[in-house]
Symmetry: C2
Subunit: 299 residues, 2 copies
């Protein structure tokens, strides 16, 4: 068992979270990101430059970037599926960008309407242009445990696509259990297969908590030496129409786990809990973080 001494948290609540929630005001988004900036987080995904028709929740990402108070040392990133998105991200002065692919052919076809190979080919001009501007590119890889259409994903398939994304120029591959159906041994097998092709230090995990397994899976990943974890403040990202349904694992709960394991995160949990409570009030939803719920009850 090789627990890392410190862990980098990639806070995805303002993008991966809010894009799956009812639309909130520009002010609420800016306030959320500014609060997160004060918590000690060092990486905040602040928006996405995607079709406003398909993802209306992200339509004001340019204004989010121009209105947040940037703190030195924090990376504010944006999701950009294509060159047009990247150009908008450059204009908004995003510090990094992210692209996404799927480890499942059916999910790729159903979700982004192209094959995996086509999606990888689309990255090439995006990554080339980003590199011209000295912008680092992060890669999201979805369905690393299961696909809603195909069932279990082969760990070798995950390893192949992760390696392809890395070779294309992604400096880090974020391994997404999109369905949230993975359990620790399957996650371990997948990470083992991927780390034979891409160094552990260039991998992150991005686990959804739909089946309640995310924190056990994160613990498993930590014991293998993974030191970058994607998570979402308040567990933002669950289906907004289903009370209690959950999407991303809550950042607060990951921080609590890490601190309990003696792992440094640079993050102040109380500041996070306040940010979590505030955005949940703005969304009129119950936090999906057990830590935040427990703190609220203690008040």
């Amino acid at each position: 068992m090789t627990l890392p001494e410190s862990v980098n948290i990639v806070e995805v609540g303002a993008r991966d979270g809010l894009q799956n929630e009812p639309k909130v005001s520009l002010e609420a988004k800016v306030s959320l990101i500014d609060s997160l900036s004060q918590s000690g987080l060092r990486y905040i995904e602040a928006g996405a430059f995607v079709s406003p028709k398909r993802v209306p929740q992200m339509a004001d990402s340019d204004r989010v970037f121009s209105n947040i108070q940037r703190r030195p040392g924090i990376i504010y990133s944006a999701l950009t599926p294509n060159v047009r998105g990247l150009e908008a991200a450059l204009e908004a002065r995003a510090d990094e960008i992210a692209v996404f692919a799927s480890a499942s052919e059916s999910f790729s076809q159903n979700n982004i309407h192209c094959s995996i190979a086509e999606s990888l080919a689309r990255f090439e001009p995006v990554i080339a242009l980003a590199q011209q501007h000295n912008i680092k590119v992060r890669g999201y890889l979805s369905c690393v445990a299961d696909c809603p259409y195909e069932g279990a994903t082969s760990p070798n398939m995950v390893a192949d696509i992760a390696k392809a994304m890395y070779d294309l120029g992604c400096y880090q591959i974020s391994l997404g259990d999109t369905i949230g159906s993975g359990t620790p041994l399957r996650i371990a097998n997948m990470i083992e297969a991927v780390s034979a092709r891409v160094s552990l230090s260039d991998l992150a995990v991005h686990f959804h908590d739909t089946y309640g397994q995310a924190l056990a899976n994160i613990y498993q990943a930590l014991t293998m030496g993974i030191d970058t974890i994607d998570s979402s403040i308040a567990g933002l990202g669950g289906c907004p129409y289903a009370p209690g349904a959950s999407g991303n694992i809550a950042t607060e709960d990951v921080i609590y786990l890490c601190h309990g394991l003696g792992i440094d995160t640079s993050v102040d949990l109380n500041t996070l809990v306040q940010a979590s409570s505030a955005i949940c009030k703005a969304l009129n939803r119950v936090p999906q973080s057990k830590i935040t719920l427990a703190q609220i009850l203690h008040q």
Copy 2:
């Protein structure tokens, strides 16, 4: 890592769960236990013989025991803090009984109004009488990670009290993280300390999910060879007045974890989900099981 091939689930929802929920009808309790009996569970805590003034939710435990349909091979147990309770449990034909102590002196004083030593002394006549009737006695030990009054509990203290309970005649000690504040390494240290005094095969874990850590802690315990897990259908046991607050880990989520790890449980998850949905309707509360929530959303 030594994962067990099979795991015994001690279903505590009808007692530890319902005693912390708004009172439900006798019919709802009997219906819950009968549904649980059909799921493949082999151990169901069905009630408690305690002061009806202090725990009105358990006042009808005698009628619960006389109205449930007992299936062969299932143990229906009752919590009995004293000889009077045991006599009532004998009359109700409980198959086993359970007693409880705390690993924290302050919690013992505040919760059961006596010292740890006094609480152990009170077990003696209870266990003696139970043994006369060939009734096995299970021991609950609370605050094995933290105490709300004293903070961290020393693993050696937990080991001492667990050993004392075992020597008094408890055939199994259920180690309770009552506050739900433990994280995997601290849980591992505690289990290691206890298992130096009481054999791993005579230990169970009983983890609350207040801080979202229970399933990661259970996974840790499983990797050490623990093969008995207490859990509560639908995560019953949270504070009823706080939506989203959670108490016991949900049985459904434990079963999903075990099956994902290739561990046999004898339990059919779909039957559990139906039982969970039904009791939550009776209680007018949202299930605290991610598995059950995910199933409901898929319907």
